[in-house]
Amino acid sequence: MLPASLARAGQRGEWVRAALGRRLLAPHGWALLQTGPGPGPCCRLGLRWRHQIHCKEPALLLQAARRSIRTQAGGLRAEKPSGDTSKHVSMQRAEKGEAVLSAAQRVKDAGRDFTYFIVVLVGIGVTGGLFYVIFKELFSSSSPSKIYGDALEKCRSHPEIIGVFGESIKGYGEATRRGRRQLVSHIEYVKDGLKHMRLKFYIEGSESGKRGTVHVEVKENPERGGFEVRYIFVDVDTYPRRTIIIEDNR
């Protein structure tokens, strides 16, 4: 107990010293000093504080008493870390954090803040990128899903398609493992300096067991911008195989 409190008192040497000054003026401190000169109390104090070995010499008595007071004060302070002492301690710590440790601490804080900043920035960037991708996919007129929607509308209104597949045509893209079929397979390439895109998706109608594969190619229009259809045709995948050409602008 006592060595620990001593160590702590040593750590907080400054305020112990300051407290000692007040302690010495306090009546309790005076009483200790007064009882100091006798051999008995000194030895009692020395016993309590084991490192103190020289308490016989009268010249050292005062010093020893002072030291014992100091340790006692430190011990008291350490034992009762409530009230104004804790305030002292916390105040001192705050002071230390600002004044003494500032160089290392500031570097550490800055590094941590910078790391958090980078993490936040990366998160915002990733989120923004995902939003950009999805908005481009949903709203841009040259996105695969838009072209797919337009081509599906053309398929739906084509009489021959309705004749083969029946009413209420539905379209879907490539199936993933989880049963989602909303992404259309597409490929983009550049020919003669113009962007081309080919899409492939599937249609089914109310005629059960009939499935068709729709092939679409669009070409960039250099004057008006955007894409225009080059061809759309449907391969009927089930047994009476045939090809239905919906649009051919080549």
Partner: protein, 170 residues
């Protein structure tokens, strides 16, 4: 190439429900294991028992709420596929927002709007991630074989473009 053995839609509801339950139960199990371990009294025995109790009480709850979300989401998604006759990213975004709104319905309209926005944004992010993933996968594939620049092998005659030229193989 692939055989589409069956229509995914009605069965996907069960699939998503179970997948969401598993995900929630496992994720919640890991989370609650750590939380229970840290919140228990000192001692390895106490801590292990505490984390086990936390897992047993909380992880199925989380899995259940995940399952409710996934099942409702999938139901709305399938209904939208059926109604629109089309599968595209709009379906899942809308059904995410609707799911959020329905599950917050007992908390009043304001909570419904907030929850719907959260659901829609979350599903939009997931869709964006999916699109990005497929795009990366397909760009790797596309650079490899330079496919034929002729239109397509089967159907149309090159230039004259005869409409209605379909062949019927018996």
């Amino acid at each position: 190439m692939e055989e589409y053995a069956r229509e995914p839609c009605p069965w996907r509801i069960v699939d998503d429900c179970g997948g969401a339950f598993t995900m929630g139960a496992i994720g919640g199990g890991i989370f609650q294991a750590i939380k229970g371990f840290r919140n228990s009294p000192v001692g390895v025995n106490h801590r292990l028992r505490g984390s086990l109790t936390a897992i047993k009480t909380r992880a199925p709850q989380l899995g259940g709420s995940f399952a409710v979300w996934g099942g409702l989401f999938s139901m709305i998604d399938c209904s939208m596929v059926r109604m629109r006759g089309k599968e595209d990213p709009w379906n899942s975004i809308t059904s995410g927002a609707l799911t959020g709104a329905i599950l917050a319905a007992r908390n009043g309209p304001v909570a419904m709007v907030g929850s719907a926005a959260m659901g829609g944004i979350l599903l939009a992010l997931i869709e964006g991630a999916g699109i990005l993933l497929t795009r990366f996968a397909s760009t790797q594939f596309a650079n490899g074989p330079q496919f034929s620049d002729d239109p397509s092998q089967l159907p149309p005659a090159p230039s004259p473009s005869p409409f209605g030229d379909y062949r019927q193989y018996q």
